[in-house]
Structures are given as structure tokens and as C-alpha cells.
């Protein structure tokens, strides 16, 4: 595992914490996280999906709205949120509700982003707080269908000495 890369941890039953560093000043990182044109560049959907809506109004009470559509069928997925805190370049907190095209809610969470900078390197910390442990576990498990076999091989090597 690359220690420079993303670190994921689950400090409590209902949270996921993501920590990563970027070699850029935090003003730029903030801009990349909050300017819709920039967000579209890196918030890549899974294969077969395209982003159709990306709106982000980062101020207390401002809205976050993202939507995706499947390339070859009807399914859509929306994410709606409201900012509850916004300290430019430093901290933002927003709610997040994900819905299917049918209107069915598939998950709600509170997401906190924190950015700190040291000598031009920005450390990002995202805390995702889910409603329940099941919802948290679900978010982690949601990527399991991809690349599982490749993951096993890597872990086999890593854990060879521990068995």
C-alpha cells in the first residue's frame, strides 16, 4: 500500500475517515473541491455513468447538487446536500442525501472536509458520518464488485508473513 496515497479508517461504528495529502496550496485544493467546473474534472463516476448535474454553492445554507445518469439505460442517481458550515480554504460541512431516479433514498450522511497546509502541501481530512452502522458498512462495501481478485493477490503477498 502506498503510504503517500489515501488512508481510510473507521474510527467509530458510523464513520469513515479519509486522509490524503496534495502537493498544492489549500486555496487550490479548496477550489478543486468547490468549483463545479473543477469538480467535474476529478469526481469520476464509475464506468458506464456520466455526471449530468454539478452545482455547489459553498456558504451556510447553500446547496450541493450532483446527478449522474447511466450511459445505456434510464437509471439516474442524485445527491442533494446543504452546507451547514463553510470557512473558506479551511472547513466545510454538508449534509448529503442520495436518491435513485424512483425517489428512493439510498443513503444520508454528514460530510466534513478539513484542509490544513504546511510548506505548500495540503492535508485533506474527510469525515463521513452515516445514520447507522449498516449505512456506513454499506458505503464501504459498495465498491466490492470491482477488482476483488486483484486485491486478493496483493493482500496475499502482504499478509504472507503474518499467516
Amino acid at each position: 500500500m502506498n503510504p503517500q496515497g489515501l488512508q481510510v479508517s473507521t474510527p467509530t461504528d458510523t464513520t469513515i475517515v479519509l486522509i490524503r495529502t496534495f502537493h498544492a496550496p489549500r486555496q487550490l485544493v479548496w477550489e478543486a473541491f468547490t468549483d463545479p467546473a473543477k469538480m467535474r474534472r476529478w469526481m469520476l463516476p464509475p464506468p458506464g455513468w456520466i455526471m449530468t448535474v454539478c452545482e455547489c454553492e459553498v456558504r451556510v445554507g447553500g446547496a450541493l447538487r450532483l446527478a449522474w445518469k447511466s450511459e445505456d439505460a434510464d437509471p439516474v442517481m442524485t445527491l442533494d446536500g446543504v452546507f451547514t458550515e463553510a470557512i473558506p480554504h479551511e472547513r466545510m460541512v454538508h449534509t448529503e442525501t442520495m436518491r435513485l431516479g424512483s425517489g428512493e433514498t439510498v443513503g444520508t450522511l454528514l460530510e466534513t472536509h478539513e484542509f490544513s497546509e504546511k510548506s505548500g502541501v495540503t492535508t485533506m481530512r474527510i469525515t463521513q458520518a452515516y445514520d447507522s452502522k449498516d449505512a456506513r458498512d454499506g458505503a464501504i462495501a459498495s465498491g466490492m464488485d470491482q477488482g476483488v481478485e486483484a486485491g486478493f493477490k496483493q493482500l496475499d503477498a502482504m499478509l504472507a508473513h503474518a499467516a
Binding site: 489515501l6 461504528d13 496534495f22 450532483l66 448529503e96 459498495s142
Partner: protein, 125 residues
């Protein structure tokens, strides 16, 4: 932030064993014990001393690890020998690993974008 959340409702059937693994990993002392055990079999008192922990406290943590099937303990004379079982750990690591990779792929795209933004800023007075 991800349509893969669509799969959320598929998860209820995650095994209770995985819950226990995550509970077991949620305490720094137990993670420290796992690190020690990754070097091989250890006596329980050997595990307790670097953690500045009493024998009963270490026993309590080892029990949690045993329940999650992460540690196997065998008694030999007066010694309680503990051994790491990697398989459940592997399940749990794999579980978060795929989540991590999905996000890391996005953050690598963000790395490229930030490089571009930095060079734009350098060339624009």
C-alpha cells in the same frame, strides 16, 4: 458522492463476523497487539508489557480478538501463547481496500488537476 452507493442496500447480509473484526480493530491497543503478533506467536505477558498494560487488561483485549477470530490462544503450562489468524483480517482489509481504491482513483485525477492549476497560476501574473 458516488453512484456506487446504489449498492448500499445489498450490504445487510455482510456477515456478523466482519462486524466483530471491525469492532476488534477499533481499539488502538488491539491494533498494537495485532502488529506484535504479525511477528509471530507471543506469550500474553509479552504482549501486555510494551503496552504498559496489566495482564487482565491485555487478556480482555485478546478475548475480543479471539471472538473476532483474529487471534488463537493456546495454553502451554503457565504460558498463554497467542497467534495471529490472518484470514478474517484479510477479509476486512480487502473490504476497505476496494473502497479506498475507488476514492484514490479520483484523488489521482485531482492530483493532475492541481498540477494544471498550479502551472496556470504560475503563468498568470
Amino acid at each position: 458522492m458516488k453512484p456506487c452507493g446504489i449498492l448500499n442496500h445489498m450490504v445487510a447480509e455482510q456477515s456478523p463476523r466482519l462486524d466483530q473484526v471491525f469492532h476488534a480493530l477499533a481499539h488502538p491497543a488491539r491494533r498494537a497487539i495485532i502488529r506484535q503478533l504479525s511477528g509471530g506467536e507471543r506469550n500474553l505477558s509479552e504482549l501486555a508489557s510494551p503496552l504498559r498494560m496489566t495482564f487482565p487488561a491485555a487478556t480482555k483485549h485478546v478475548r475480543v480478538l479471539e471472538r473476532a477470530n483474529l487471534v488463537r490462544r493456546r495454553v502451554s503450562g503457565r504460558q498463554h501463547l497467542c497467534r495471529l489468524r490472518a484470514a478474517p483480517l484479510k477479509d476486512a482489509m480487502l473490504w476497505t481496500e476496494q473502497f479506498r481504491r475507488n476514492w484514490e482513483a479520483r484523488f489521482q485525477a485531482l492530483d493532475s488537476l492541481l498540477e494544471e492549476m498550479k502551472s496556470v497560476r504560475r503563468t498568470t501574473p
